[in-house]
C-alpha cells in the first residue's frame, strides 16, 4: 500500500512540471477566452446584469424630467413584436430618432423565446433611442422564465404613470399563457387605475387586444366596460397580430390601434392633445 502510494507520488512529481505548463496553456488559455461572460447556466437563467434592469422606472423618471409641464400635446411612438427581428429593430431606432416624439411603447413580444439573452439583445439596441422607451409584456415574453426576466428588465407586468394629466396604463393581457384562468388581464386593477381623478385622459397599452382569441373571452366585456365607464379613454393600443388594424369594434367611440411587427418596418406616431388624437403610419 505504502509502496503504491510512493510510486504514485514519484510518477506524479515527474509529470507535474510538464502537466502544469500544459494545463495552464490549454485550459488556462481556453478559460481566458471564455471567462468573459460566456458562462451560461441555462438558456432560461435570469441573472440580468444591473445596467439592464428597471428600464420602465428609469424611462418614467426621464419622461417626467424631459417633458415640460406646459406641453399640452404628447407625441408617442407605438410599436411591438421585436421578437427575433434585431436587424429591423436597429433600423426602427434610426427612424424613431428622427421623430420629435416624447417616448416609445414596445408593446410586447419583445423576445421570441423568453430568453434573458434576447431581452438584453433588444435592450442593447433600444437603448440607442434618444428618447425613453417602455416595455409591455407579450405572450412570447412569458415563455420559459420570461416573466422573471421581464420583471427584472422592465418591472411589474401591470403598471401606470401620469404625464401632464395623461395616464398611461400598461396591462398584461396574455390570458392564454395563464391558461385563461380568469385573472389575466386583471380587470379589477384596471378599474382602480381608471377610477383615480389625478388625470384627465387615459391610454391603455397591452399586447393582445380584447377581440383576439388569446384574450380571455370571459374578460373581454369587463375590459370594454372598464374603458367605457371611465369616460376618459378613447384609445386602446395593441400589437400581437403582426398586422396593422384600426377599428372601433364596440360602437363606443373607443379606437383600437394594432401596430405591425418590427418585421413589417412600420410603427405608429400618435399625437395626443386633450381628448383628441391623431396618428400616422411611419414606414422605415
Amino acid at each position: 500500500m505504502k509502496d503504491i502510494f510512493i510510486k504514485g507520488l514519484i510518477s506524479y512529481n515527474t509529470s507535474t512540471c510538464m502537466f502544469f505548463k500544459l494545463f495552464i496553456i490549454i485550459v488556462g488559455g481556453g478559460m481566458l477566452v471564455v471567462s468573459c461572460s460566456l458562462f451560461e447556466y441555462h438558456p432560461y437563467e435570469t441573472n440580468v446584469s444591473d445596467k439592464n434592469r428597471n428600464v420602465n422606472a428609469k424611462a418614467i423618471e426621464r419622461i417626467l424630467s424631459s417633458v415640460p409641464p406646459s406641453k399640452d400635446t404628447l407625441v408617442i411612438i407605438h410599436t411591438g413584436d421585436s421578437q427575433r427581428f434585431y436587424d429591423e429593430v436597429e433600423d426602427f431606432v434610426k427612424s424613431a430618432n428622427k421623430q420629435n416624439a416624447d417616448f416609445v411603447f414596445l408593446a410586447g413580444d419583445i423576445s421570441d423565446f423568453g430568453l434573458k439573452d434576447e431581452f438584453e439583445w433588444i435592450h442593447e439596441i433600444m437603448r440607442k433611442l434618444k428618447i425613453p422607451y417602455l416595455g409591455v409584456i407579450g405572450n412570447h415574453d412569458l415563455s420559459g422564465n420570461g416573466e422573471t426576466v421581464f420583471k427584472k428588465v422592465y418591472g411589474p407586468l401591470n403598471s401606470s404613470f401620469i404625464v401632464n394629466r395623461f395616464k398611461f396604463i400598461l396591462l398584461n393581457t396574455n390570458s392564454r399563457e395563464y391558461r385563461f384562468n380568469g385573472r389575466v388581464p386583471d380587470i379589477h386593477w384596471l378599474e382602480e387605475q381608471l377610477d383615480d381623478d389625478d388625470f384627465d385622459r387615459a391610454i391603455v397599452v397591452s399586447h393582445i387586444s380584447p377581440f383576439d382569441g388569446s384574450f380571455d373571452r370571459k374578460l373581454e366585456q369587463g375590459y370594454v366596460t372598464a374603458l367605457e365607464n371611465s369616460g376618459k379613454v378613447n384609445l386602446s393600443l395593441h400589437a400581437h397580430q403582426h398586422k396593422f388594424n384600426d377599428t372601433i369594434p364596440y360602437h363606443d367611440n373607443i379606437r383600437y390601434l394594432i401596430s405591425t411587427a418590427m418585421q413589417e418596418r412600420m410603427y405608429l406616431l400618435i399625437k395626443l392633445y386633450g381628448d383628441k388624437y391623431s396618428y400616422e403610419k411611419i414606414y422605415y
Binding site: I4, K7, G8, S11, Y12, S15, M18, F19, L22, F23, I26, V27, G30, M31, V33, V34, L38, F39, E40, Y41, H42, P43, Y44, E45, T46, N47, R84, F85, Y86, D87, V89, E90, D112, F113, L115, D117, E118, W121, I125, H140, S143, G144, N145, E147, T148, R176, R179, F180, G213
Partner: protein, 200 residues
C-alpha cells in the same frame, strides 16, 4: 436530485473498484468509463454524471444531471438532464502520461425537468402557436481538453480537464436571421469540466 447524483457517482466508483478486485479480466460493459463534473455550459450551474468511451477512446458519451440554484432561475431551481457526444478530433501526446486534444467537436441534448417547461405544446394552444419546446434544447459545440495519467486515486486512472464553447438551436436561429445586429459571440456559451477515468 443532487443527492441522487452524488450517490450514483459514488456507486459507479465503488462498482468499478469492486468489479476489478473480483474479476479483473472480465470487463463489464455497463460500468461507466468515467465520471464527470461540469461548470456552466447552459445545462446547469454545475452538473455531475458519468459516461463511456467510444471508438477506441476517440469519442465519448456523457449523461449529466445539472442544477441551477433558484437565484439564477425563476420561481425555483432548474434541474436538467443532458446526453452529450464528444469527438476528439486532433490528438497530441507530448509525453507518455499526457494527451492533448486541441479540438473537440460535439453535440448535446438537454432536457429540463418540470411541468413549467413544456416538452410539447399544451392543449390550450392552437396547433403551431409556438414551434419550439421549452424543455428540450439541442446544442453544438467545439472545445479542447488535456488528459493525464494519475496514480493518486487509482493506479492507471486518468483525469481530463475540458472546455466547450457552443450554442443552441434557438440562439442560432436568432443569429442567422440577424447577422448585422447580433455578434457571433453574443449567441455563444461556454462550460468547463473535469472527467475522472477509472483505471481499466
Amino acid at each position: 436530485m443532487r443527492l441522487y447524483c452524488i450517490i450514483l457517482l459514488f456507486a459507479f466508483t465503488y462498482i468499478k473498484g469492486f468489479a476489478q478486485e473480483k474479476e479483473p479480466h472480465i470487463p463489464r460493459w455497463y460500468v461507466p468509463d468515467f465520471a464527470a463534473v461540469q461548470y456552466a455550459g447552459s445545462i446547469g450551474f454545475f452538473s455531475i454524471g458519468a459516461g463511456y468511451d467510444l471508438f477506441k477512446e476517440k469519442a465519448n458519451v456523457d449523461l449529466l444531471f445539472g442544477y441551477v440554484p433558484p437565484a439564477y432561475a425563476g420561481d425555483g431551481a432548474i434541474r436538467t438532464m443532458t446526453l452529450k457526444f464528444t469527438g476528439e478530433v486532433i490528438r497530441l501526446q507530448p509525453n507518455p502520461t499526457t494527451l492533448i486534444h486541441p479540438l473537440t467537436i460535439g453535440t448535446y441534448f438537454n432536457y429540463t425537468f418540470g411541468h413549467e417547461y413544456s416538452s410539447d405544446l399544451p392543449a390550450w394552444y392552437p396547433n403551431g402557436y409556438y414551434w419550439w419546446s421549452e424543455a428540450v434544447r439541442v446544442n453544438v459545440f467545439i472545445g479542447g481538453n488535456v488528459r493525464f495519467i494519475t496514480n493518486r486515486l487509482q493506479q492507471g486512472s486518468k483525469v481530463t480537464a475540458y472546455y466547450e464553447i457552443g450554442t443552441n438551436e434557438i440562439k442560432l436561429a436568432s443569429y442567422t436571421q440577424n447577422v448585422h445586429a447580433l455578434n457571433i459571440w453574443s449567441i455563444l456559451h461556454a462550460g468547463i469540466g473535469v472527467r475522472y477515468h477509472f483505471a481499466k
